[in-house]
C-alpha cells in the first residue's frame, strides 16, 4: 500500500488556478511547469497500489503505480508540455483550461486501479476535450463537437454499464486483466474499442481532429486514443480477436489517407493506422509484443504530435491545411519542413528514427508467433504509412506545385516545440535504451541488425520509388477539394434520411387518419342535427303535448295498478 498524491491533481488544480490568473507570463509559466513537475513526480513514484477512497460502499483505488502506468503517465506529461509550448501564443482561457483538465483526466485514468475511478476520468477526458473543438467557434465545429461528444459519452456510459454488470457477476470492480465472455466484459471491451477507434467505430477521429483549433488538434491527438490503448493493454492482453481488429485498423485507413485532401485528416487516418499496430501487439500479448505496444505508443505520441504541429504551423500561416491549396513552402518555411520530414521519417520507421526501434518489436513478434498473414498486412501497412504520411504530407505541403503562397516561418515557440519533439524522435531512434528501460518487461531485443536495416530500407525506398513512378506517370490521384464518404455517412446522411422519410410517412398517416376521423365525426354530427335538431324529423314527432299525454297515461296506469 502506498500513500501518494495523485498526479492528475497537479493538472486539475493548475486548471483551476489558470481560471483566476490573468493572461501573461505567470499563466504561461504555469502551463509549462505543471507537466514538468508532474512528470518528475511520476518518474519518482514508488510502485504499488494506493490512494483508497470509500464511495457508496465501494473501495476506489486512485493510484496503481507500475511500469505500464508510469510509461503512459510520463509520455502524457511530455506531450502536454510540448503541446502547451506549441500553444504558447493562444490567449483563449477556455482552451488553456480544457487542455490542462483533459491531460489531468487522461493521467488520472492511467493510474486508476478500479473501473469506477476509470469511468470518472474516462468521462472527464470526453467533457474537457470537446472544448478544444468548440474553441474554433464556428457552426461546423459546434456540430462536429456534438458528434464527438456523443461518441465519447456513449463510450463512458457503456463502460459504466459493463462495470455494473461485472460487479453483479463477480463482486469486483478491479481494472485488471479480463477474459472476453460475459456481457459485462464485452461491454467494457466495446467501450475501450470506441475510444481506440476500432474499425466502424473510428469515424469520430477523422471527423473531430481536423475540426479542432490548430493547437487543440495537437493536444487531442495524444491522449484519448492512447488512453484506450493503455486500457486494452491493461485489461485484454492476449485476446486473439484484437490481433485481427488491429490488422484491419492498420489496413483500411491507408486507402482513405491516399485520397484525402485535408492534411490534418490524412494524419487522423494515419493515427488510426498506427493504433492498429498497438492493438495487434496487445492481441499477441507476449512480453515482447506488449513492450512493443508501450514503446510504439510512446514514440507515436511524439511523432504524431510533431506531424500535427508542422501541418498546424502551415495552417497557422496560410489559413489552409488542404493539399490542393498548398505546395512550394519549403523555401519560406524550411525549418517547419525539416521538422515535418523528421516526423514523417519517424512514423515511416526509417532507421535512426523512433518508429524503427518501436514498431519492429510488434512486427517481429507477429512473425515469431506465426501470424504470417497479419505480418504481411502489417508490412503492407508500414509501406502504406510511409506512402501517405511519410511522403504525401511533406510533399504536398512543402513541395509539389508552387501554390504561390509565401508564408513566414512559424513563430519561435512553435519552432521550439517542433524542434524538441524532432530531437526526441531522433534520439529514441539512435539510442533506444532509455526508452526500452521504461518498458513494462525486460527488453532483449536488438533493433539494429543488418537484416532489419536493409530489409526496412528496401521496403521504404521501393515505396518511394512507387510514389515517384506513379507521380511521374500521372497515375497518382491529384489532390482535389472534396470530402470522401467513410462509414460515418451512415449516421450522418443515411440514417437521418431514413428517419426523415419515416417521419414523413408517419406524419402523413396521422394527418390522413385525423382528417378521415374528423370527416366522419362531422358527418355524424350533421346526421344527428338533421334528425334530432330543432328542425329535425324526430323533434317534430316528439311535441311537448305528447309527452304530457304520455305522463298522464303512465300515471293513470300506476294508479289503477295500485288500486287493484
Amino acid at each position: 500500500m502506498i500513500d501518494v498524491f495523485p498526479p492528475a491533481f497537479f493538472f486539475l488544480i493548475a486548471a483551476g488556478i489558470v481560471a483566476f490568473l490573468p493572461q501573461g507570463i505567470f499563466r504561461s509559466a504555469l502551463l509549462l511547469l505543471t507537466p514538468i513537475v508532474a512528470g518528475l513526480y511520476i518518474y519518482d513514484l514508488p510502485h504499488g497500489v494506493g490512494g483508497e477512497v470509500e464511495l457508496a460502499g465501494l473501495t476506489l483505488e486512485m493510484m496503481r503505480v507500475d511500469k505500464l502506468s508510469v510509461i503512459f503517465g510520463l509520455v502524457f506529461c511530455l506531450a502536454s508540455f510540448l503541446g502547451n509550448l506549441y500553444a504558447l501564443h493562444v490567449k483563449d482561457s477556455i482552451q488553456q483550461i480544457a487542455a490542462l483538465a483533459y491531460v489531468g483526466s487522461a493521467i488520472g485514468a492511467v493510474f486508476a486501479g478500479d473501473l469506477v475511478t476509470l469511468f470518472i476520468y474516462w468521462e472527464g477526458t470526453a467533457i474537457t476535450s470537446v472544448f478544444l473543438i468548440w474553441a474554433r467557434r464556428t457552426e461546423g465545429a459546434y456540430h462536429t463537437g456534438m458528434r464527438y461528444l456523443i461518441m465519447q459519452i456513449a463510450s463512458g456510459v457503456i463502460l459504466l454499464g459493463g462495470t455494473v454488470l461485472l460487479y453483479r457477476e463477480t463482486g469486483s470492480i478491479a481494472f485488471d486483466k479480463m477474459t472476453l465472455g460475459s456481457l459485462a466484459t464485452w461491454l467494457i471491451f466495446l467501450a475501450f474499442g470506441i475510444k481506440c477507434a476500432f474499425p466502424l467505430l473510428h469515424n469520430w477521429v477523422q471527423d473531430a481532429y481536423p475540426a479542432a483549433t490548430i493547437t487543440g488538434t495537437v493536444i487531442l491527438s495524444s491522449f484519448t486514443t492512447k488512453l484506450a490503448v493503455y486500457a486494452l493493454a491493461r485489461s485484454f492482453p492476449s485476446t486473439e480477436i484484437l490481433i485481427y481488429i488491429g490488422a484491419v485498423m492498420t489496413l483500411f485507413p491507408i486507402f482513405f489517407a491516399v485520397i484525402e485532401n485535408d492534411l490534418r485528416r490524412v494524419l487522423a487516418y494515419s493515427l488510426n493506422n498506427q493504433l492498429g499496430f498497438m492493438v495487434v501487439g496487445i492481441g499477441i500479448g507476449t512480453e515482447l509484443a506488449l513492450n512493443g505496444t508501450a514503446a510504439h505508443a510512446f514514440a507515436h505520441i511524439l511523432y504524431k504530435s510533431l506531424l500535427f504541429m508542422s501541418v498546424g504551423a502551415v495552417l497557422f500561416r496560410t489559413g489552409t491545411a488542404k493539399g490542393s491549396e498548398l505546395g512550394g513552402l519549403y523555401k519560406t518555411m524550411p525549418l517547419t519542413m525539416i521538422f515535418c520530414v523528421v516526423g514523417a521519417a519517424s512514423i515511416s520507421a526509417f532507421p535512426l528514427f523512433s518508429g524503427f526501434v518501436t514498431k519492429s518489436l510488434i512486427l517481429s513478434d507477429a512473425a515469431h508467433e506465426g501470424y504470417y498473414i497479419v505480418w504481411g498486412i502489417l508490412l503492407f501497412a508500414s509501406a502504406g504509412v510511409f506512402h501517405h504520411s511519410g511522403i504525401k504530407i511533406p510533399y504536398f505541403a512543402f513541395f509539389a506545385h508552387d501554390s504561390g503562397l509565401r508564408p513566414k516561418e512559424a513563430p519561435t515557440h512553435m519552432l521550439f516545440a517542433m524542434g524538441i519533439t524532432a530531437f526526441l524522435c531522433i534520439a529514441i531512434g539512435v539510442y533506444p535504451d532509455p526508452l526500452y528501460a521504461l518498458l513494462p518487461y525486460d527488453v532483449n531485443y536488438v533493433p539494429y541488425t543488418t537484416t532489419h536495416v536493409i530489409t526496412q530500407l528496401q521496403l521504404l525506398m521501393f515505396s518511394a520509388l512507387a510514389f515517384t513512378v506513379l507521380m511521374r506517370t500521372g497515375i497518382y490521384p491529384p489532390e482535389l477539394r472534396s470530402v470522401n464518404l467513410d462509414t460515418d455517412v451512415i449516421y450522418r446522411r443515411f440514417l437521418p434520411r431514413i428517419i426523415t422519410k419515416l417521419r414523413n410517412i408517419i406524419s402523413g398517416m396521422w394527418l390522413f387518419g385525423t382528417w378521415f376521423a374528423s370527416r366522419k365525426v362531422a358527418k355524424l354530427v350533421k346526421t344527428l342535427h338533421n334528425s334530432h335538431g330543432p328542425e329535425g324529423r324526430m323533434a317534430r314527432v316528439w311535441p311537448t303535448g305528447a309527452m304530457v299525454l304520455w305522463i298522464a297515461i303512465i300515471l293513470s296506469a300506476t294508479l289503477i295498478v295500485n288500486f287493484i
Binding site: 501564443h89 461546423g140 500561416r317 519560406t332 524550411p334 525539416i338 525506398m461 512507387a466
Partner: protein, 115 residues
C-alpha cells in the same frame, strides 16, 4: 517543384536560400536518379549478406523491395478507384461540417515573407 515566379532571395530565410537549388528542375531530376540508384543498390545488397529470417518468403532476394513497390502501387490504384464512388463535393455535409468553412482568422497569423 519548379517555381512559377522568381523569389527574391533576400527575403527568404537563410535555410530557404540554401534550398533554392530545388527550384531547378535539373536538380529534381538528379534526386530522382539518386533514388533509382539507391533502390538498385539496396536490391542487389540482398545477395551480399546472410539474411536472418522467420519465413521462407523472406529468403526470396529483394522480397521486401518487390513487396513495397507492388503493394504501394496496388494501394494507389485501389484508392484511385475508391474515389469514383466515395468522392463528394466539399459542401456535402455543410453546414454541419468544417470542411467547407474557412478557418477562423482569430486562430491564425497569416504573415508572409513580404510583410
Amino acid at each position: 517543384m519548379a517555381s512559377n515566379k522568381k523569389d527574391d532571395p533576400e527575403k527568404l530565410p537563410l535555410l530557404g536560400r540554401k534550398l533554392l537549388w530545388l527550384d531547378n528542375m535539373k536538380n529534381v531530376e538528379r534526386i530522382v536518379y539518386g533514388l533509382y540508384f539507391t533502390c538498385f543498390v539496396l536490391f542487389i545488397a540482398d545477395f551480399f549478406y546472410k539474411k536472418k529470417t522467420y519465413m521462407d518468403i523472406e529468403d526470396v532476394p529483394g522480397f521486401y523491395a518487390i513487396y513495397g513497390f507492388a503493394m504501394c502501387a496496388l494501394l494507389v490504384i485501389c484508392a484511385r478507384g475508391m474515389r469514383l464512388f466515395l468522392m463528394r463535393d466539399e459542401t456535402y455535409y455543410a453546414p454541419n461540417d468544417v470542411e467547407s468553412e474557412e478557418h477562423p482568422e482569430a486562430n491564425l497569423s497569416k504573415e508572409t515573407i513580404n510583410d
